[in-house]
Homo-oligomer: 284 residues x 4
């Protein structure tokens, strides 16, 4: 009986903490999200000199409060889940752990509490909490488009890297250290700043030849942005307009390209094969 | 009789002020647009030190002239509209009010007259006035495309925010206050400047590790611009190529969405209506 | 007879100068293009301080040489063309005139010879000369895509202008003259620099609120680039995949969607109407 | 017999060096890639002042080691290939030679060893080695899309060049040398920096008119990025959605490109073959 009670206690806790369908589960998740946002804001404010000087105690208190809460939550999660090890080594389990460790670490290594911003990753739960099924499916469409474009994007990044290395070295030779191109890695950093059209202006070409090479690099960078854009767009367009399956053939008149949900040939009215199979199955 | 006259007076005023089809209505609207543009230009010029010193009186006169005109117009609109409260709380009603308030406010709080640029929003009426039906429909296509992309764009912005928080905090730890990254919010500002490829150069990484992280962030920002672009393009392409008409309905099982060249229902095999017509034609 | 000779002389000149199919016409055009490029390069070099000091005489000579040649060419064009006024007021006629005027003008107003770069526009003839029909047709595809997108692009530009005015005025109030936002027009210039992701860094926000507003503007600018891109891409995709004309209907079986070049119904083999018309016309 | 042995020796060497299917061939290629990456990293580090001072001897040793290895490899390639001249003048042969020459050259001309980064081009072999057939085919899709867009992109680049020359000259006249626009070529460099939205900020407009012209140029540059993007996207979309198969040919008039669902030739009305088959099947 006590055993069943305990089991019931763990189960109820599991429903509250891990599920979001029940009122108590939803309330817990919303409170958790609020605490995550508040703790990330506190970490950010803690790094602002002025703010820290005037509110030092409040910030330290908030940090330990949130860390305490998250630590308790972590232990409860470990307690009520069926496979603690599996949870602890999952993506969310690791993020949950990394969200409390830096505070304890800051007792030994000062400054490490800024790593707490990793807590922002806990916000990814937001999709689950708000039942944003639609958002999840949309992000899966994006993910699929990106995954399908992987090979093209790898080729593209490899080309960009080759351009950056070659142009970087060339500019190091052309401009030299006196114009800010103090080494090839630094010239490569400049090449990336230029190619991506960021253009800080912390290093700029000053010789005529250097400005000419830069101009070519800029036009190149301005133009090749078209390539990843074209790749992703083509994928997303294809995802929006899936090709109709065209391998289904009418057994009587051989018309091809029937929709996957068609039962009869649109041309001669004969039953299509998948239906025939079904009829064969249910006929006996 | 006087009552009917008054009603007639209000009606005529309504036609002039709110409608744009009659000659007087159009003339009023064009004059209004000219006054709006002139008043916005006056507000802009008022903020230019040199210009203000030499034309102070003209500017003050212009400001009070336009405010006076717009105030009278506002009162007339309130007078002739059937539901004054509904107008006052509508988008255009609020913009109309906000377009005159700052001048009166500037008597109490100096400087607030610069808020008058809000008058630019009154220009949105331009579409109505110029009968640019085509432009309105085009902007609706754009709006629809953006609205359909809302979920994808939210996911995208949320990802960007997460990247900015994590990279911002990392750069704060890597570069530190001596290189301009004085706080996490400021480092996040830098991350946005970099990710969006704006690249002011007011804060730039100086350590080698910082430049490496920046380079990754730049390539990321350069690449992920492809995502919103792909989303909007796919939507606009879909708007331009609507899926084939699907109004053909099977007369037997009422399945919709048959291809225009189909002869038989894909669901029950019944002959579709156009075929029946042909049979009737060739039968005799 | 003399009259005919003269006519023949003008005609031969016309063929050389205006046409590009004959050997002499082509030779003339190639020589002209070379002269245009050389003269633009000369104007550019003339503006370089160091170069001018050492080669002043050569540059002046080149300028007057090219201006002389182009003047003679202009007079010959006027002489041999059938409607001199029509040529003089055409686009190319105006460009030809503007390409020689600045040199004469520079005798009165020093410095105006730099306007000679307008000669670069004469290079547009390059397409005609090199018989780059394919390039012309490609640029027409681009032009058509841009023209079709006109309404959408106008709406887009109007929205951008509204954003720039409102944000510019807001930043003028937030940052103030001490941070470089000395007037609303200057703040609007900053807003354009930021929204277009150019980001010179000559004016940058320094207050926290200003950096927050800037961040929003940057993300906005980063995102809405998707809109013109989407518009043009959708147009170009449509140009590549023209919708099949689907109003042609078979008079016998009423199948729709025949290709514009079809003569017979693809479904029942009956002659389509356009053919019938033709038959009716030639039959009598 | 000795002759055959030698031939066997050359053949075995050829398999190891030039092919990547055998275990030894693959091992050789992987080792080669590692050596290439290591040598490029060494060249990059060699340009870093601090690093060079402390590790001068190691770097010199590494440089000569890699150059020695690559020299031996080059000679072996020349020895075992059937047509040494053809290899030596091929793209890879030239890259292989250029990858070793600078070190020897640096004995005569100091500093030329930085040209060794050309070795990065040898990495293009990576695709061959890792048997990344998929990546090669993807990069061919990209190449085809870019090649098909060549004419459109040439027109686009020519337009950009014209804009840059005209705006550059205009800004030189508007801003003048005292604001950094010291010559037309330099102003053209600024125009490219602005049009491509790089925006270093090393040269910025300071006059009101200059800032107005710059704003127009920025909006232009921001907008016309849509054009190359649209071009490439349209090509990639077309590559993903090839036009329906058009190999069906009319047996009477030989017109090609009939729709897959056509029964009769759209040109002469003859029955298409698939229909004839059907008739043959049902006729008996």
């Amino acid at each position: 009986m006590a055993d069943r009670d305990e089991a019931g206690w763990r189960e109820r806790l599991y429903v509250v903490i891990f599920e979001a369908d029940t009122p108590s589960g939803k309330a817990f998740d919303v409170a958790l999200l609020a605490a995550i946002v508040a703790s990330v804001v506190a970490v950010c404010l803690d790094s602002v000199q002025d703010f820290r000087q005037h509110h030092r105690e409040a910030l330290v208190a908030a940090e330990w409060l949130f860390t305490g809460l998250f630590s308790i939550e972590y232990l409860l999660r470990m307690a009520c889940v069926r496979h603690p090890i599996r949870y602890a080594t999952s993506f969310y389990g690791l993020v949950d752990l990394l969200s409390i460790l830096p505070t304890y670490l800051s007792l030994i290594i000062p400054g490490s509490q800024h790593l707490l911003v990793i807590r922002i990753l806990r916000l990814l739960r937001v999709f689950r909490v708000l039942k944003l099924g639609r958002y999840v499916s949309e992000s899966q469409v994006l993910m699929t488009a990106i995954r399908n474009s992987r090979a093209k994007i790898t080729v593209f990044l490899f080309s960009v890297l080759t351009i950056v290395v070659v142009i970087g070295a060339a500019m190091y030779l052309i401009e030299g250290a006196e114009n800010g191109f103090t080494s090839i890695p630094r010239a490569m950093y400049w090449a990336i700043v230029t190619l991506t059209t960021v253009g800080y202006g912390d290093i700029t070409p000053r010789t005529t030849v250097g400005q000419l090479v830069s101009s070519l690099l800029m036009v190149l960078g301005y133009g090749i942005i078209a390539i990843p854009t074209g790749i992703v767009t083509a994928e997303l367009t294809q995802a929006a307009h899936p090709q109709p399956v065209t391998t289904r053939t009418c057994p009587v008149c051989l018309t091809e390209g029937h929709r996957t949900d068609a039962h009869f040939c649109r041309d001669c009215g004969a039953q299509l094969l998948r239906d025939v199979d079904r009829a064969a199955t249910s006929g006996d």
